[in-house]
Amino acid sequence: MAMTGPTARHFTVLSCGVSVRSMLRYLLHRVISLGLGLVAASVLIFAVVTLVPGDPASFMLGTGAQPETVAALRQQMGLDQPWPLRYLTWVGALLQGDFGQSLTYKTPVAGMIRDRMQVSLPLALMALVLAAAVAFPVGLFAASRRGRAGDVAVMGGTQLGIALPNFWFAMLLVLIFAVKLRWLPAGGFAGWGDPVAALKSLILPAIALALPQAAILARVLRSALIEQQGQDYIRTARAKGLSAGQTLRRHALRNAMIPVLTIMGMQFSFLLAGAIIIENVFYLPGLGRLIFQAISQRDLIVVQSAVLVLVAAVIAVTFLVDLAYAAIDPRLRQR
């Protein structure tokens, strides 16, 4: 076939060597925006905690505090120094793993966050994996039976899953699996010294957390699949001789993954810190409870560090989601 000027030019631009280069450029862009995001987040958190009106030290100690105590804390927190220096000191210490001392517990914040993460991170991961494990088959099922009884049932069921308060569902789980059947512990977490016991104590909370997320994810997947099923390439796939189900799984599913991944990224971030109610129901020493306690105890040092860790986690997840987009969609690799 004769290739004319513009087409030929177009084609050389897209030859393979360039596509590797543009993939690397895409990666570099994502890494730079990851770094910039972290810096911006640290500045913002620092600004909110230390630059807003009122003095952090007197805020932390409450209205009844002695002036000498406040002055001592101010000095300990370095509040007598100019703010750019304070920011750099704070970030410098963070980079060395020094998150400061908790005012309430008088222990290093880094250790506290690390301990809580050992609960929250596996819990969030388990909940997300569970949610996905339920949502994918359910979403595929509903999309393949669009408008029919199966679809209507799934839509009704997921609506219920979103509407049910998860603490109520959590208590139901406890009643059935802990109190009645005695398969799993009703609450508490004894650490990872005994991995089986640790996993067992996370199962019920993970299920409780996963239910609404699975319902949301299934609905997102269903609508993304239905949107894809209207596309021309699905018709091509049917004309090739694929059955409706094969078309859905082999062609529509991958194309529907972009919105699904976006939602999963958001869900993970939410599960990491938003599990506080479930943590309370199951007496789990998670990150959500730590932040809640720190706020009520006005322990700004803990709040500040924990929030930064969470923001960093969100940024890191966004980065991973971006990489997943590029893995799925070749067009993104070539931007």
Partner: protein, 530 residues
């Protein structure tokens, strides 16, 4: 051999197809023509058994004495892609964007045979070579977005012919392509039919395409076949009034206005230049040192292959993208490179695009849609009266102002788009493939409307189209663009009948046409008609 007998399809209570009889024999090309909604595509989908779920089918479709209409779906999946396959109109969206072209072709082979991936890819390679996408320039690892429209249509053809089917259905396979891409694709289809002994059902609204390719032609109207014959015989006799209507409309040229030549030009562009940075470095000069004029009341055609810079030039003329060098002079005022066009000047020009539906907000009533350009000039107190006036001018009723856009047909929507362009009384209307998506009879009406409006409103047109036949019929002067430059500029009929520049000659040569003597003189059929 595929035989269709008494095929009728209804969806709900609406009859879609009625009593269709069709024989599709190996090695023969059958052209299926008719307007949108006539049932062409539904016939194809019925053959594929891919009709909407609510459709009810009666009659028989037999492939080697097996009735396909009664076949269980599981077995039908073994027929699709292997015995009967299909390519569609829109190559840009017909392929899975996330799969390599090699895997997409190989998938057909793997569904129907117990092949491993490597063996399937090897055969996919052969099929891609066959459709004109040879290694090493087109490796199997390419993704659809790395190919042009014509190349993607070749991939679609490769996967449709991968299994050497008995019947290939091509539904408007070249409608979305420009003429110079269309011609080699049509040649490829013809060669495939000859070499592989397939039957080809070619669905198109373009009579000239059928004339050049089909052995037999079937004309459909409102779900029925109104006429079927050998191509030449059908073209010469045109025994059904509807066929005659279609033929007349397809070569309709509206009355011409004579442009005033004495005045200074309405629009003049001098040494215009526009570069784009390409992804991955480098730059593309989309508009390269273009100088042109459009006179008052003049209709100027702009033609060229896709990617030649037509769209970029148009965007610059409309003030949507500033130029990087050169100047635009409109109605005595000059806009220099890099400057924004002031709204008052912008209001002198309006544009009508190809797809009437996509250029309207579906949640607005027609009155608001038509009044939209007033944001350039300020909305006058009598705007509702003016909406009513332009609606009547384009042949619609003033009461249509309160309707929504989905309540109108394609031709009516294009009339609304023209009304929207007229409302602020512009001097120049850019018609960007404005009649390309319309059926021939509707197209003829819209072209007449445009011709009338040009006289009554003293309008100038910049008429962008890939259809040289239409351009020849409706414009006074034609500009031919190639690689960002205007390479030929002259009276429309002269440029198209006696092209000078190689680019123009290529465009004209690629233009499908009905042989001159087929439609003149009488024809005595050599064979009994059936």
């Amino acid at each position: 051999m595929i035989r269709v007998r008494d095929l009728s399809v209804t969806i709900g209570d609406v009859p879609i197809l009625r009593d269709i009889d069709l024989d599709l024999s190996p090695g023969l090309i059958t052209g299926l023509v008719g307007e949108s909604g006539s049932g062409k595509s539904m016939t194809a989908l019925a053959l594929m058994r891919l009709l909407p779920a609510r459709a009810r089918v009666q009659g028989r479709i037999t492939l080697d004495r097996t009735d396909l209409t009664a076949m269980p779906e599981r077995q039908m999946c073994r027929i699709r892609g292997r015995r009967i396959s299909m390519i569609f109109q829109e190559p840009m969206t017909a392929l899975n964007p996330l799969m390599t072209i090699g895997d997409q072709v190989a998938e057909v082979l793997r569904i129907h045979h117990d092949l491993d991936r490597a063996a399937a890819l090897q055969r996919a390679r052969e099929r891609l070579d066959r459709v004109g996408l040879p290694a090493p320039r087109f490796p199997l690892t390419l993704f659809p977005h790395q190919l042009s429209g014509g190349q993607r249509q070749r991939v679609a053809i490769a996967l449709a012919i991968a299994e050497r089917p008995d019947l290939l259905i091509a539904d408007e396979p070249t409608t979305a392509l420009d003429v110079t891409t269309q011609a080699p694709i049509l040649d490829l289809l013809r060669d495939l039919v000859r070499d592989e002994g397939m039957a080809l059902l070619l669905i198109t609204h373009d009579l000239a395409v059928v004339a050049g390719l089909a052995d037999r032609v079937v004309v459909m109207k409102s779900g029925r076949i109104v006429e079927a014959d050998r191509t030449e015989a059908l073209f010469r006799t045109q025994s059904h009034p509807y066929t005659r209507d279609l033929f007349a409309a397809s070569r309709h040229a509206p009355a011409r206005a004579t442009p005033r030549r004495d005045d200074a030009p309405l629009l003049s562009i001098r040494e215009a230049r526009r570069d784009y940075r390409l992804p991955g470095g480098g730059s593309l000069t989309a508009v390269d040192d273009v100088t042109l004029t459009i006179g008052r009341g003049e209709s100027v055609g702009l033609v060229g292959e896709s990617g030649c810079g037509k769209s970029t030039l148009t965007r610059a003329i409309l003030g949507l993208d500033p130029l990087q060098a050169g100047q635009i002079r409109l109605d005595g005022q000059t806009i220099r490179a890099g400057h924004r066009m002031p709204p008052a000047l912008r209001a002198q020009m309006q544009v009508v695009f190809q797809d009437p539906f996509d250029s309207f907000n579906p949640r607005w009533r027609v009155a608001r849609l038509i009044a939209e350009p007033f944001h350039l000039t300020g909305r006058p107190p009598d705007w509702r009266d003016r909406v009513a006036t332009v609606l009547s001018q384009v042949g619609l009723a003033p009461a249509d102002a309160d309707k929504y856009i989905h309540e109108f047909s394609g031709g009516q929507r294009q009339r609304i788009a023209i009304a929207r362009a007229l409302i602020i009384r512009p001097r120049l209307i850019v018609l960007d493939e404005a009649v390309s998506a319309l059926d021939v009879r509707v197209r003829a009406q819209v072209l007449d409307l445009l011709a009338d409006l040009r006289i009554s409103h003293g309008l100038s047109y910049l008429f962008i189209s890939h259809d040289l036949g239409v351009v020849r019929g409706v414009t006074d002067r034609v500009l031919v663009m190639e690689k960002g430059r205007i390479v030929e500029d002259g009276p429309a009929q002269q440029v198209i009948d006696r092209p000078d520049h190689p680019a123009t000659r290529r465009l004209v040569a690629a233009m499908p046409r009905i042989p001159q003597d087929w439609t003149t003189g009488s024809y005595v059929p050599k064979y009994p008609r059936g």
